[in-house]
């Protein structure tokens, strides 16, 4: 029923025709980020969902200069691009972005990321956190939350799923003393936009971690990505915090709902919903949320 044909300019940065799952939180988040960044940028991208669904040769959904190298080295590749632009005198006009999933950023790329932070390259690193190695089939990562079922930390007769807490990379990034660290969620896109803008106004190393719900990986109907992301934030499990030079400067207040409201809508936590042992796990998860709320002052 279109009146005139739709047009998609390259300057959008990220175009349709990519092969993300229907309802992909990450694809939505990338669009929000690129809308703020604009076309005067160079993007590096780790191996993962985003890279794979956006660039099956000879198709590419990117309208801006974009490079994919390996899984763990985007922070280093971005550092090299930044150094080259600096030498060429173009760093003021061209922004350098690095995209990586939680696996690429928090696990295998941790060393390169820390090095980039330590050297203070003028790069905005955006971690798309869907809390597992989604592209390869939902295997656990260091970012997988406690008690989530993944294919390598499955719930079973002898297991409650992931038995380690979620690695707190934003706090680790902040501990490097870099000028700006922020946690965002696709479900709060205006807040996400503001954080991207804030990051781009600052020179130096910036880290932005975006919670991006994943329908097949987390197990919910694809239309509900925004709602699931909202529940994660409102129960305190995904605090939206901002740090500048290592100090917390802002948090987003939450309503505070029980974690169970968030857990019960996802298949990856369904095993917790029966029996006394499941209840005990939920209580442990509630304690994690409560600790976040206390630590960052998410209520009052």
């Amino acid at each position: 029923m279109a009146t005139q044909p739709f047009t998609y300019e390259l300057s959008r940065g990220f175009l349709p025709g990519h092969r993300a799952c229907a309802g992909c939180g990450q694809a939505a988040a990338v669009r929000v980020v690129m809308e703020v960044v604009g076309p005067q940028c160079i993007v590096t991208n780790a191996t993962g969902c985003l890279e794979v669904f956006s660039t099956p040769y000879p198709e590419t959904a990117w309208g801006v200069p974009w490079i994919h190298s390996l899984f763990e080295n985007q922070a280093a590749v971005a550092s090299g691009i930044e150094a080259a632009l600096k030498r060429q005198g173009k760093l003021d006009q061209i922004r350098v972005l690095a995209f990586g999933g939680d696996g690429a950023t928090i696990d295998i790329g941790f060393g390169a990321l820390s090095g980039m932070f330590e050297r203070g390259h003028d790069v905005l690193y955006v971690c798309m956190d869907n809390e597992a190695y989604m592209n390869t089939g939902v295997q656990r990562s260091g970012s997988t939350p406690y008690a989530a079922s993944t294919t390598t930390s499955p719930a079973g007769r002898a297991s409650f799923g992931e038995d380690r807490p979620k690695k707190d990379l934003p706090a680790i990034a902040a501990a490097h003393g870099i000028p700006y660290v922020a946690v965002a969620s696709i479900s709060y896109f205006a807040d996400l936009r503001r954080k991207v803008k804030r990051a781009l106004d600052i020179r130096g190393a910036k880290y932005l971690q975006v919670h991006v719900p994943c329908p097949p990986g987390w197990g919910y109907d694809e239309k509900d990505s925004m709602e699931v992301g909202r529940l994660a934030v409102e129960c305190g499990l995904y605090p939206l915090v901002e740090w500048e030079s290592g100090e917390v400067v802002r948090v987003r207040k939450i309503q505070k709902i029980p974690v169970e409201d968030y857990l019960k809508v996802q298949r990856r936590f369904r095993h917790l919903m029966r029996g006394e042992a499941g209840k005990a796990k939920i209580a442990e998860i509630q304690a994690v949320a409560d600790a976040n709320i206390k630590r960052y002052g998410l209520t009052d």
């Binding site: 029923m1 009146t3 739709f6 349709p16 509900d224």
Partner: protein, 93 residues
């Protein structure tokens, strides 16, 4: 490429021209498509912002539509619309 005619083409498989994903019409993926009730629309722009494909646009304020060539029918727009102005329908595919 701004290369002169005398230079070679890039080596095979290395460089892709931008935006070539547009030839992949993902509209064939979905079963449903959004129907926009312009009377209920408040013009908040949520649907256009969060569509993972980026295939929703507004013609005027409060007049939105989706591109059937790329819409995967995920229903995120309908679920997220604060005014409940979007319904997913099989009839318009």
């Amino acid at each position: 490429m701004s290369a002169t005619a005398s230079r070679r083409k890039p080596p095979l498989g290395i460089v892709t021209r931008p935006g070539t994903s547009l030839r992949n019409k993902t509209g064939s993926w979905g079963i449903t498509r959004p129907v926009f009730d312009w009377n209920k629309c408040t013009g908040c722009n949520t649907c256009e912002t969060i569509c993972p494909e980026g295939c929703i646009r507004h013609l005027e304020k409060k007049q939105y539509e989706a591109d059937s060539e790329y819409c995967k029918g995920c229903g995120m727009c309908a679920a997220a619309c604060p005014a409940k102005a979007i319904t997913m329908s099989t009839e318009h595919r």
